[in-house]
């Protein structure tokens, strides 16, 4: 009775239901396109938020790494920091070093740190076991 060969079923199958009108098709197209645009703009908003989050995380990471990096050993027993600094400011070679450092995009403090590192390594010690008091730059083998 219900097999595919049933004459009634064949008779029914021959009938073709009316297709949706062009108006219905265009309405569906409009609604689907609208939904697609909404989804796209939501995706874009999400992407922007993710990018901002990643940037902020990267910035925090960089700052953390910089703050945790070990400082080079500073020169010791060469007077108070302010005295050393005064000497350096007056030293034309130091000024030149700072200027050269700027061209390498180094700050004055970074130049100082480099100079300190060199001074620590190469300055000969005096009788008291402290580095010989002299212009720091005289001793640096550039």
């Amino acid at each position: 009775m219900t097999s595919d060969d049933d004459p009634l079923e064949k008779r029914l199958r021959r009938l073709k239901p009316i297709a949706p009108s062009d108006k219905a098709r265009s309405m569906i197209a409009r609604r689907l396109n609208g939904a697609q645009m909404t989804a796209l703009s939501a995706d874009r908003r999400l992407s922007r938020r993710l990018a901002a989050l990643v940037t902020a995380f990267a910035a925090v990471l960089v700052v953390t790494v910089i703050l945790r990096s070990p400082l080079p050993p500073r020169a010791v027993s060469r007077g108070t920091p302010s005295r050393i600094r005064n000497e350096r400011v007056e030293d034309p070679l130091f000024s030149a070093s700072v200027a050269y450092g700027r061209s390498l995009r180094l700050s004055e403090e970074e130049v100082e740190r480099v100079l300190d590192a060199y001074a620590n390594r190469f300055l000969p010690l005096g009788d008291s076991g402290t580095p010989r008091k002299s212009s720091v730059m005289d001793e640096i083998p550039f």
Partner: protein
Amino acid sequence: MSDNGDWGEWLHRHGPALLLYARQWAPTLVDAEDLLQEAFVRFWQSRRSPEDPRPYLFACVRNCGIDGARARGARKKHERLAGTRQQHEVWFEARLERKETYETVQSALSRLPAEQREVVVLKIWGELTFEQIGRTMESSPNTAASRYRYALENLQRDLEWEDV
């Protein structure tokens, strides 16, 4: 193929059966097309969720039809209307040589109980299996098969009577 092309293909292939199915809950052709739009958009936005999208597509039409009827608070009225008022609207393509045929069949279909009419539409024009019909109508395949058998018996009797 792009997504837009895909939905056009789906609508081209299943549109007529979907519209006929939508008419089970809609009093007029315009209402049925509105229902179809809503259901098709819902289906398209979530078509990747179900394993078998075809029964899901018809289920979307069914759910939208039931929701719409409930919203209007007149589900039974519209089920009845689907079988009465739509007699004046054409369900099938009008071909002169078959005018009597489609009018007779439409008339016989509209007199079927709603569940039997649904199963016939899904089986004959939706080309779903009883398993898929069961999923669409949230019933067992056996229930779908028995409803279909009763529907064909009723149609057979009706059409024989009409032919006389």
